[in-house]
Symmetry: C2
Subunit: 337 residues, 2 copies
């Protein structure tokens, strides 16, 4: 690249020593005003910028946040995390912070990577994603007093959380969807969820249960997260006849797409179905969906991590959290077949 | 975070001066063997790692590649770039390189960001995406001799390209799809593309034209890249009756989804339709699609940018390129309604 001006260039232009330039940059008080002005003029004229590495070494701050990016695994909902990374990059940039991506295949490998990056002064803090019960990463980060925020709440922590986190209120989303379906479709609002035992899935199911009126029939369908299994589960229910559901609230857009295809086959192409994640796939099929607002999750993450002037702060002392309210995107005139 | 051992800690443990530790790290030849061994033992015992910022300052190398990440704009095909970033992160990591994300809203703003990052020694090279005719970014990077590779060929450069690039052979993809459709569906293979004037779109159309036999009817449908416009364009053709197409090759998955919905409405749910990008949306709907192989694009990018031991090399002298052959993903038993 075009050679950037160096300290030597500045020193030559100002007619001073290299050390004097360095003093102006780091300890301006000890330099005589006239000399300081001459050096500052040379810095401005040459467009000299102190090397970031030098600045980092001085401040021991990289102004950089690390986040893991997993290998692409396909699937309809992967876009949510990507959208979060997009928003994080943009909002961090506005605060003068950078985003550094790293790869890791296991939690243990991720801890190694994080240690290297923190030790090397390459990142100041970590944004953890995909947290799970007994996650060794949060334990390690807490034990090493490393500043971090997780996208995902600590499910196994019933008492006060031990670290800062941002998450989306899944139950609020399905509550919203169920309330909408009860008002616009009918009393038999079914829920299509994953097999029990998933914290996220149980949370989303809870919202549906809470929104259903006392004594209303609770039709709970189950499928693993795939279009074909969802289609099969819903097809069976619709074939059973009798009390077919008036609407179906789903734990994911993948399940919603399967449910919709089953409804089309059963001759009910307009059966109201609500997905979760508001992915491009749901949009393309004209399905309603609950939107996670990844942009607000990114904003919350930076609120917890970045202090004034973009400096990274350690949120551990506060152990605060941000719970983002999702929103329901209703598509009532779908481009359905 | 837990305080990492410093040069001072090593010096104290080895009973030498700070300068001696520094000499062992940077000019081991000038240190007496016995002293060197003592310092090296202290380094190993304490687990001291030279601060990355210090290393960068010494080598003037960050081992970091910069890539722009735009705000999420929705749409079915955005996943291709995200998948490329995932693959780039993973493959770069394996070579000891890091990926730094930056945001920019215009080409001019991106040039400013790149200049800052290069000047600051924060990145060694740039991976440019979304290139276009008369792109000021490539001109600026070339003029400043900054190492870079673009994902996207220089369309306005008929002669030898002035810089290194990686791209996907779109024409090869639609050629493949058309040949498959001719063999499995019938002679009337239509093409659904964007309005003329898009380099990428024209390239994809060219592959279809080249694969069609001499004298075969060339049905070229046009729609802007949206599900609804595509659906309308195809619905009209199918309504026209008579010589309806036997298959439709599309310039994107968005167009393919619209085409499929029109076919379902017209009572032809099994009309073979091939999209482009092999997105999760196409997969969820059981549509065939041309896969860009973003992982191979990432591998090609690093081949051009990274030399031995992960050091970033300047590909400008070679101005080489990698044209990735896409592959056709055929879905013959689609979960269609």
């Amino acid at each position: 690249m075009a050679k950037a001006p160096t300290v030597e260039d500045v020193a030559r232009a100002a007619g001073v020593s290299r050390q004097t330039v360095s003093n102006v940059l780091n300890s301006p008080d000890i330099v005589r005003p006239a000399t300081r002005e001459r050096v500052e003029r040379a810095i401005a004229e040459l467009g000299y910028r102190p090397h970031a590495a030098a600045r980092r070494l001085r401040t021991r701050r990289s102004s950089t946040l690390g986040i893991r990016l997993d290998p692409y695994s396909g699937g309809v909902s992967g876009v949510v995390l990507d959208r979060f990374v997009h928003a994080l990059t943009e909002r961090a940039s506005a605060r003068g912070l950078r985003i550094l991506l790293y790869a890791a295949r296991t939690a243990e490998e991720e801890i190694d990577r994080i240690r290297d990056l923190l030790d090397g002064g390459e990142i100041d803090a970590v944004v953890l994603t995909g947290t799970f019960r007994g996650d060794p990463r949060t334990a390690w980060l807490a034990a090493h007093a490393a500043p971090f925020v997780s996208f995902g709440r600590p499910w196994d922590d019933d008492a006060a959380p031990s670290h800062s986190w941002v998450d989306v209120d899944g139950a609020a989303g399905t509550r919203m969807a169920t309330t909408w379906a009860l008002a616009h479709a009918g009393p038999r609002v079914a829920f299509l969820g994953w097999p029990a035992g998933s914290d996220t899935g149980d949370d989303r199911e809870r919202g549906w249960r809470e929104a259903m009126p006392e004594g209303a029939p609770l039709v709970r369908l189950t499928a693993v997260d795939g279009v074909a299994p969802a289609r099969e589960a819903v097809a069976e229910t619709l074939r059973a006849g009798g009390d077919a559901p008036d609407a179906i609230v789903c734990a994911s857009d993948t399940l919603a797409i399967g449910a919709h295809l089953a409804a089309v086959t059963a001759g009910r192409p307009t059966l109201p179905i609500v997905g979760f994640d508001n992915t491009p796939a749901a949009e393309a099929m004209g399905l309603s969906s609950i939107e996670q607002r990844p942009e607000d999750v990114a904003a919350g993450t930076l609120e917890l991590l970045a202090g004034a002037e973009g400096a990274v702060i350690d949120p551990a002392e506060r152990a605060a959290h941000v719970l983002v309210e999702p929103r329901l995107v209703v598509r009532t005139e779908p481009p359905r077949g």
